[in-house]
């Protein structure tokens, strides 16, 4: 029954009996897409290698995996009262998850009550569960190769993991060996946590309940740890409050983003001044007649640079309806300074005509933004009867870097002669939400950080304490 860690046998090479040393093996990691070094045990005599699924490996690495073994409120010989029962901690076994190269351990503290009843306190990732033996109404480990049947519930065997003993001390009800494996299945049923632990010789079924760290520290901790715990509670509440404040900020920012996205700021006077450069000039292309019109609107002021704008070009049906015909357009947004440079500061219709007559052949584009589209109105008939469809507007988003005075050059080609004023141009600034997004992301990070700290902040030495 009594087992001291020193009694655990030191493992030697199972092949030749030679001493084992720490070493590494280089393997290709699919995720990292490069070779990585993984720790292994190696026989210094014959070179035999042992990976983390062998007992030899733990004989070599057990000390590393139990270096922080004193980092717990539990200690051998310590007494504490939980639910009016006094327990004394008499032993401990530490397991390492054999699928992990890094340290991934949990401790099973063996406690005996004053009346001789035993209990395991499992300390893992800062949580403590109290376990007791459980006899299920039904259990079947073997009939289904994929699943375990437990009181009518199916548990996938793929959820199982193997724990290897890396440390043991004090009094235990059995004699552990370093590296000894056990396959564990943890699951919850009806809100209760169960563990099935299967080794070569035994299947153990236990039922656990979470014990709060506060209760554990009140029961087993010293005055210093109790004060630390009170301090932790205070700091965690502070983090929680901060997380709530940041969350509110995050929500407000989100609402601002939505508001900004939904609202806009129109550019005034786009169509106030106009130069009609051409009106319904008949052109024939590919034996098809079309009427060509050109108008230059502006100048008008755009007051905000580095902003998102929306351009909308649409048929103004109050001027003339589009009826069973089509019309195409091209809109160019021209900064006044470029236009003046291109016309040698001549703000005259002939100069504009000359410039825009060759606009596609200019070495330096005069426009800072271009947008094309079509309007159409059609009807016909099919299996479902007559149909009539039309598309009378086009929209596009763009960014204007610099504020200033601009012209809007509108080129129209229509199937029938149409007044230039039957097509309207509208520009509007979409209120910028990009900064709000950055602020929201920052606030969201602060929420997550403070929530994390609200559950993980720790000063008390509970192993890998999380909650």
């Amino acid at each position: 029954m009594v087992t001291d860690n020193q009694e655990l046998k030191a493992l030697k090479c199972s092949k030749c009996g030679g001493d084992l040393v720490k070493s590494f093996r280089s393997v290709y990691d699919d995720d990292e897409e490069e070779n990585v070094n993984i720790p292994i045990a190696k026989c210094s005599a014959c070179g035999q290698e042992f990976d983390q699924k062998t007992e030899e490996y733990y004989g070599v690495f057990a000390d590393d995996l139990s270096a922080d073994r004193d980092n717990s409120v539990f200690k051998l010989g310590i007494k504490g009262t939980l639910k009016d029962v006094e327990y004394e901690i008499i032993g401990r076994i530490r397991y390492q998850d054999e699928d992990e190269y890094e340290k991934s351990t949990w401790d099973e503290w063996f406690a005996v009550s004053s009346d001789g009843a035993y209990r395991y306190f499992v300390e893992e990732e800062g949580e403590i569960h109290s376990y007791e033996d459980y006899t299920p109404r039904s259990i079947d480990l073997e009939s289904d190769p994929e699943k375990i049947e437990f009181e009518g519930r199916k548990i996938s065997k793929s959820t199982g993991y193997v724990g290897r003993i890396v440390y043991a001390e004090g009094e235990l009800s059995w004699k552990p060996e370093i590296g000894e494996p056990s396959t564990m299945y943890d699951f919850k049923k009806d809100g209760v946590k169960y563990t099935i632990e299967r080794s070569e010789d035994e299947v153990s079924i236990t039922r656990g309940e979470r014990i709060s760290n506060k209760a554990i520290i009140e029961a087993f901790g010293g005055e210093k740890e109790k004060e630390q715990h009170r301090n932790i509670d205070r700091k965690r509440k502070d983090y929680q409050k901060r997380a709530i404040v940041y969350l509110i900020g995050c929500i407000v920012t989100f609402l601002l983003i939505v508001f900004s996205f939904m609202t806009s700021d129109p550019v005034e006077g786009v169509m106030k001044l106009k130069n009609e450069l051409a009106s319904n000039i008949l052109q024939i292309e590919n034996n098809q007649k079309m009427y060509h019109s050109v108008v230059l609107y502006g100048p008008f002021d755009i007051t905000k640079g580095d902003s998102l704008y929306s351009a909308s070009v649409s048929i103004d049906e109050s001027v003339r309806k589009l009826s069973l015909e089509w019309e195409s357009f091209r809109l160019l947004l021209v900064p006044e300074e470029r236009l003046l440079k291109a016309t040698n500061n001549q703000v005259t219709q002939p100069a504009f005509k000359a410039l825009f007559g060759e606009v596609d052949a200019l070495k330096e584009p005069v426009e800072c933004y271009s947008f094309s589209g079509d309007f159409w109105d059609e009807e016909g008939s099919d299996d479902e009867g007559k149909w009539h469809e039309s598309d009378l507007s086009s929209e596009d988003d763009f960014v204007i870097d610099k504020p200033g005075r601009y012209y809007a050059y509108l080129e129209l080609a229509s199937q029938k002669p149409r007044p230039v004023s039957s097509v309207s141009v509208r520009l509007e600034r979409v209120k910028s939400y990009r900064y709000y997004i950055i602020i929201m992301v920052v606030l969201a990070c602060l929420v997550l950080y403070n929530r994390y700290r609200a559950t993980t902040f720790n000063e008390v030495p509970l192993n890998q304490r999380k909650k």
Binding site: R137, D140, R198, V203
Partner: protein, 199 residues
Amino acid sequence: MPATQCPSCGAPVEVKNRFSKVLVCGYCGTHLKIAGDGFDSTGRHPKLAEFPSIFKVGSRGTILSKPFTVMGRMRYSYPGGHFDEWYIEYDGRTAWVTEDEGAYSLYTEVFDTVEFPDITAVRAGQNVMIGEKKVMVKEKGTAEVAGAEGELSFYIEPGTKVMYMDGVSEGRKISIEATENEIELFVGRPLLGRDIAVT
């Protein structure tokens, strides 16, 4: 049965249960087979070491609200430790309470006529059929009788090897113990600490 003396040391001993077949002298540890009105001394063995337990020979109380008196104890040792089997008078009958790794189980039914599996061949986690019941094997192994105290319903010489198999079926605990001469099946249930009250 009247009080009498240990034939080995002369200490007063008393058999309290009519089904007891062995009495271990509380003074010298001699195992006394109860035969008719007298005792056959079978040998002296060291007293059992005491480990924390809610039971001791002679303790009384209730289990599941029914009265019990502890008559005796058998202790088995195995490579990983030991377990105790407490022989009790329970609600007018006899029964066994096992105490293993701090867990208690009450066995009130004992069978020796059902068809047993070959427990040498079973392994932990396996399903076996006992009668018409499917039993999952929790543990199997070999233990050695370490000693005894008080009154017992059967006698096994200390040092005797006993094969055992523990299982679960339909929420009940199944235990099979086999020696060269005998094999017995115990059916019982787990006990929680609150199920046992020692007065």
